[in-house]
Subunit: 245 residues, 2 copies
């Protein structure tokens, strides 16, 4: 699989599968994370495996939201750590947003493996959940957060997230940005900004857009955020899904 | 996850995830099998997570094809062994078709784990691939077959299969029956009969249909097979996929 040439039509998809399978070996990704990855593959196939206009609109709004945030935080799970660790580190630097490890199925070992993966990709500081700090409205391991991170964030970037988590953050009046290939998922519907795109395509575009919008003032950023309508974007994504690639 | 009540709207889906994750622990399922399972979940979601008319038509033709076969064989991989081991054993008995372990990523350990899983579910004999017997047109581990099984089969039932395998069997003029939730996959397009349905819903229905058609004579079975058109079935499945559940 690792011998697949870059010219292969399925190169990106096969490369991602390798990255995520290696994530399991390294203790970064959970078996349930692999299944979630497979779901993403199918939805990506259905939208044509390219970044669509609705994703570009969401990326623009997400970039503005991150730039005008007071305390943005990047929540990292096993799949994003396996697939785009270097991009997460770059995003953290670009937005002065700490990286915080947060996973669904409790495992301190896996939290540390994710932290290691991020540090190997250049992260200087990585926040871990604290047993003394919890958020309401959530039952799983994810209720534990870092008191310097998600607990005090106004904007949380949580790519490839589950619905419960997204809902809990929204109930705490935080703005939530997600990347999710399924426009019908609870996460997609609950987030403030949903980027319906493959994380490996969306992350470089998000970084480029942040660089491009960096010179804008707060009122202009605010306009980009306030004129964005997530439901319209999700409707467009669902139409595309049904129409086919 | 295992505590999810049967009344939960996602009970079957969550139960399957548990079965397949346990398959990994037991050495039956590969990490790539988990990703494939996730893809299936997404396509199942898109067709409404119910058995559709096009699947019922394919099941009827598949049952007739298995009943009128001279040497039917059931090819078993990690995902089917994890999800429907008892149904595979029942099908083997109902059609007098041997079970043959055949997996994509070479691992004798996993082959034996799958054999064990089938025996634990009541299988008396399980064929394993033989290093001395190969089929043409295929590069991977799957070219090794059992000389008393797939090598001499006229009909091969290969649920949740990959495209290369299906193509190689077709080139050897064998009839191939598959179960695949993606009607656009190479396997779906190359098979003689493609059941576009979730394997846990399709297997009990296939067993019921075999019991129902058992009293038919060969000419009647032949008519059921010859009047079936797989391309029409795939077109219907794809329309449903695009229309939504």
């Amino acid at each position: 699989m690792t011998d697949v040439p870059e010219s292969h039509p399925r190169y990106v998809s096969l490369r991602m599968r390798d990255d995520i399978a290696r994530g399991v070996e390294q203790g970064v990704t959970s078996p349930h994370g692999l299944i979630a990855h497979g779901r993403g593959e199918a939805f990506d196939y259905m939208i044509g495996e390219t970044t669509q206009p609705f994703a570009l609109s969401a990326i623009r709004s997400a970039a503005a939201m991150l730039l005008r945030a007071s305390h943005p935080v990047i929540s990292v799970n096993g799949n994003t750590a396996a697939l785009v660790p270097a991009h997460l580190v770059s995003l953290s630097a670009a937005c002065k947003a700490p990286l915080e490890v947060n996973i669904f199925h409790t495992s301190h070992e896996r939290e540390r493996a994710i932290e290691r993966q991020l540090r190997d990709s250049g992260a200087e500081g990585v926040l871990l959940p604290s047993p003394d700090s919890t958020i309401d409205h959530i039952e799983s391991n994810r209720k534990f957060v870092n008191p310097r991170g998600i607990a005090v964030a106004d904007v949380v970037f949580v790519p490839l997230e589950d619905g419960d988590r997204c809902e809990a953050l929204r109930k705490m009046d935080k703005e939530v940005i997600t990347i999710d290939l399924n426009p019908m998922s609870r996460t997609s519907r609950l987030a403030s900004v949903t980027i319906v795109d493959n994380v490996v395509r969306a992350m470089p575009l998000l970084l480029e857009t942040i660089a491009e919008l960096r010179s804008l003032g707060v009122p202009q950023l605010e306009t980009l955020v306030s004129t964005y309508d997530n439901q319209t974007i999700l409707d467009q994504a669902q139409q595309r899904l049904r129409k086919g690639g």
